[in-house]
């Protein structure tokens, strides 16, 4: 009985912080891929530097305090600036980072399509000469007639 009560009490203690969140909890793993290590210029999950460890601890504390991913990212941007995020923002000059790859792929596709079109046009076979009833072209047939006429 005593053991059963202890298990219930432990479950309540550990479940309490999770239950306190009004929204799904974000995870440290997810945010580690979204946030840069400021001193090593890799994402947090690829760094074990002291600065990365400090940010990791900060994120873990904020997740425990039920902060959303957006809220945590905003707090980090306030401290470190926009470059702390692994992905550029969707406004101003940063938009180029989103649009340039798309423009590049489209331009590449256009160039490729144009090249294929031109190549296929160059390789088009010439109009075949219509064969006559005898299976010979007109010129050959005419020359053949001339030759045969000599024997008449």
């Amino acid at each position: 009985m005593l053991r059963f009560l202890a298990v219930i009490a432990a479950a309540l203690v550990f479940a309490a912080p999770a239950a306190a969140c009004a929204h799904p909890r974000t995870s440290l793993n997810y945010l580690q891929g979204q946030v840069m290590c400021p001193t090593c210029h890799t994402t947090l999950d690829m760094s074990d530097s002291q600065a990365a460890q400090q940010i990791r601890l900060f994120i873990a504390k904020k997740i425990d305090a039920c902060w959303t991913a957006k809220h945590i990212e905003s707090a980090l941007v306030a401290n470190y600036g926009q470059q702390i995020l692994a992905t550029p923002s969707h406004k101003g000059f940063d938009l180029l980072a989103w649009w340039l790859p798309i423009i590049g792929v489209l331009a590449g596709g256009l160039v490729l399509a144009f090249g294929v079109w031109r190549w296929s046009r160059r390789k088009e076979p010439e109009e075949p000469v219509e064969p006559t009833d005898s299976g010979l072209d007109e010129e050959t047939e005419r020359r053949l007639d001339d030759l045969l006429a000599r024997f008449d």
């Binding site: 002291q50 460890q53 400090q54 401290n79 600036g81």
Partner: protein, 178 residues
Amino acid sequence: MTRRLKLTGQVVAFALVAGLLALLLWSVVHQKHAPGVGSMAPEFTLHKLDGPGTVSLASYRGKPVVLNFWASWCEPCKYEAAVLQRDWASYRGRGVVFLGVDYHDLNSDARRFVSAHALTFPMLEDGSGNVTDRYGISQVPETYVLNRRGRVVAHLRGPITDPGFADQFQNAIAKAAA
């Protein structure tokens, strides 16, 4: 028509290659180097760590300045802090200014660091590291000593507590104050 198209393609390709080369050249020329001894220290204006307001380096022109770059996550900075505070207390009467620049750090942790080490000289925050980059800081702590005209007298890459740096630091302050 085909010839014109070919020519246009060549011009576009050439312009693209020239543009990329220009970009490469620009990035090489504008690489951030640490200001050398005798050169002017880069100007900056940074927010104070412990409250509202900003501080600019230019406002200290006419005084020797010790510019120390640190972060709360940096282990050697912890050992260096006490020595910096002691030297600040010793030199402030002689008009030497000490400025701490906290970089790539959480403000809350940085304030705790300042409080824990009882540091009383002005502390500035450079979370983005923009100013720190202009000083070519690659590891913390690093310290610059500037003379009254804002020129670099010494750049110490490492804690001033290092045996090799202790004398160099004192000599640089003496030279900057002369």
